[in-house]
């Protein structure tokens, strides 16, 4: 065997290391490119999730005002964790609409009592049909919907304190 061939395994191995090291050092990408961004919300109507707030329908989103659409559930722990951030957004004048996923009214009432209620309306999605329809695969997820009912941004996972200015910015963009 010629000398240089003996170095071949090392070269291949170095290539492997470079390949796998790249995703480790690269800052993790947090954008999710949903296929539905830029598309209008699908047609749906959800019954109210509790007796105090109205339910939601696609037409509610077409009044010219951008909103946040938050997919949550009382059984979801990160949803409780993001509640203060939603409260902060509401205080800053953002209208937040909730989709309550596979939930019971009494659990929801307790959840809202414990964590505060930032929602203007809450629709009950008992079988997750609307959740799938808007391209969400988990809870919590938050969408920015512009005044024409078009999905402008999708945030996967809980909203952290540092995400609040970013979401406000996205809402401002959606106004334009």
């Amino acid at each position: 065997m010629t000398r240089w061939k003996l170095w071949l395994p090392l070269v291949l191995f170095a290539g492997f290391c470079a390949l796998v090291a790249w995703p480790l050092i690269r800052p993790p990408s947090t954008d999710v490119h949903s296929q539905l961004i830029g598309k209008p919300l699908p047609q749906f109507a959800l019954k109210p999730a509790n007796s105090t707030l109205p339910g939601i329908a696609t037409a509610d989103f077409r009044d010219g005002k951008p909103r946040l659409l938050n997919v949550f559930a009382s059984w979801c722990v990160p949803c409780a964790a993001e509640a203060p951030q939603l409260g902060e957004l509401q205080r800053q004048g953002v209208e937040i609409v909730g989709i309550d996923l596979r939930d019971h009214p009494e659990d929801l009432a307790q959840f809202l009592q414990q964590n505060g209620n930032p929602f203007a309306r809450i629709g009950a999605d008992d079988i997750g049909a609307v959740q799938l329809g808007i391209g969400s695969s988990g809870v919590p997820e938050t969408f920015v919907i512009d005044g024409k009912g078009v999905i402008r941004y999708q945030h996967i996972g809980d909203i952290r304190a540092e995400d609040v200015p970013m979401l406000l910015g996205k809402l401002k963009d959606a106004e334009a």
Binding site: L10, L19, W22, P23, I127
Partner: protein, 647 residues
Amino acid sequence: MIAELGLAALWLAAALALLQLVCGVMVVRRDDAALASVIRPLAVVQGALAALAFGALLLCFARFDLSVKLVAMNSRDAQPLIFQIAGTWGNHEGSMLMWVTIMSLAGALIALIERRVPERTMIATLATQAFVGLGFYAFLLIASNPFERLDPPAQQGLGLNPALQDIGLAYHPPTLYFGYVGLSVAFSFAVGALITRQVTPAFARAMRPWVLGAWIFLTLGITAGSYWAYYELGWGGWWFWDPTENASLMPWLAATALLHSVSVLAARDALRTWTIMLGVVAFSMSMVGTFLVRSGILTSVHAFAIDPERGAFILGLLALYVGSALVLFALRAGTVAEGERFAVTSREGALVVNNVVLCALLAIVLVGTLYPLVTEAYGVRVSVGPPYFTPVSALFFLPMLVVLAVGPLLRWRRDSLERIQRPLVLFFAIAVIALAGVWFNSSIGFLPLVGMALAAMLAVASFAPAQGRNLRRLPLAVWGMMIAHFGIAVALFGMAADSAFTVEKLVAAKEGDTVEIGPWLATLKTVEPVAGPNWTALEATLAVSYEGEPGKALRPQQRSFWAPAQKTSESALLTRWNGQLYTVLGDQAEDGRWQLRLWWKPFVTWIWYGGILIGLGGLLALIGRVGNDLKRRHAQVRIARRKRTAE
């Protein structure tokens, strides 16, 4: 107190490993008898200390000590005791400690018993073992201390991930770790032999039981893991070509190749550098596998699970070990004397073909697993799945089976196909008859068809080496080989039958409805809530009967764990000799009907029976080899004693 004791033992073990490495390097560079004599005892004490540390962690989990962070994060008192204990290795820190413990115990064992290899090679081997161990000790002590305390102690544990609350967890990771550690010993032997340039049959015989042992554990680990995924995940599939599975398959492929090449080296003193190379590759594959699973770089759909720091640490270790071994290989392999030569048509020739194909399969799996990383660098996200892996690997695997049937009949060094003409014709006839038989009786795809024909041929061919020999005097290792090869035929038949004949049905049923699936009738009787120790579930009762035989009850569940809150679907299975009925309870639709998913999977269980047979074959071979070694050593001791008395 126990946790502090464990941590102290771990630090001491790490210090001894460092000492073992330094002394080893000094002895290899310049012979020093006094220094050489401390290395074996060092390895033994280091093993004992690591075992002490692991024992301390086990005790913390068994006593449910919530002041230890790891226990609080991964355990809960409502869990059954077996899961309480299995929680020790059901997490990152604990499983790393388990790995390093098994590895130092293996080092202690070779230090105690291995006397065949020249002492200088042995010391280089133990130094390498310490070098590898040291990285893991550093990893534990610097980046993932399993004994970290919580102050104040937690009031309640968070609980073990429900998907892991299964008896499978109790044995699956330890099994794989035994396998990985066996390969680390093989790696140390390979590097040791490369350092001293003494690549001899004696070295191969010393290395072989470790490779064989590792290979048995990997085989059983993969078999069990595949069955676990099959019944726990509720998708009815038994292999998904998922990165985690590939991570365990790659070391197995490398170990299988190594197992065969080490046999050639032991028997014929051929394939010297190739065996060394495979020793390095096999261990690197086990570390690559660990890296891919632990770093999460391949499961980037869930960005939350990525832990780049730990991933970087493992990658650093991998680069250090494998990189330095490959540099050593490049510098030294050219100076290792060439081994014996052989003709193409010979036992060695067939084993080389086997090795080349296994390495090709390894490359196919590795490329497919890493390909998404390559495209991601260009901004394209892809997932590589069965449409790539299955046909491409079959392309290599199926022809290899022909070599597998013929190879064991060939003689060492030089042989001719004319000599074994009669069995060859027989094998060919069986394959053709099986092919025609299946072809005329069913309309199945090309791959399953070829798979079945080859399985039939291999089932007969695997026992051909016994033909004309006295079965009682046949060495255990030959029995092991025949049974392992037969196991491949059995597993292959199961795979082909499953992919060709599976019937699947997804229905919405209300109570009282009957569904027909293959030869089965299933009636949904009731759906009722039930409660377990730390979960509640909706349980369906299905009355099932096979071709009018008296019915049996199956109870698939939708289980909700409350600590941590998570839903799992527990499938219910009914096993017959000729297949399995697999049932899953889905969600309730708005009109009150229940989703039921049913599969009738003919002969699917043969896949795992085959896996067990392969492992059993390995075990017989191991017993045979170790037994022979012991006999040989006894004889040597007796001769030495006689010499002494004669003097």
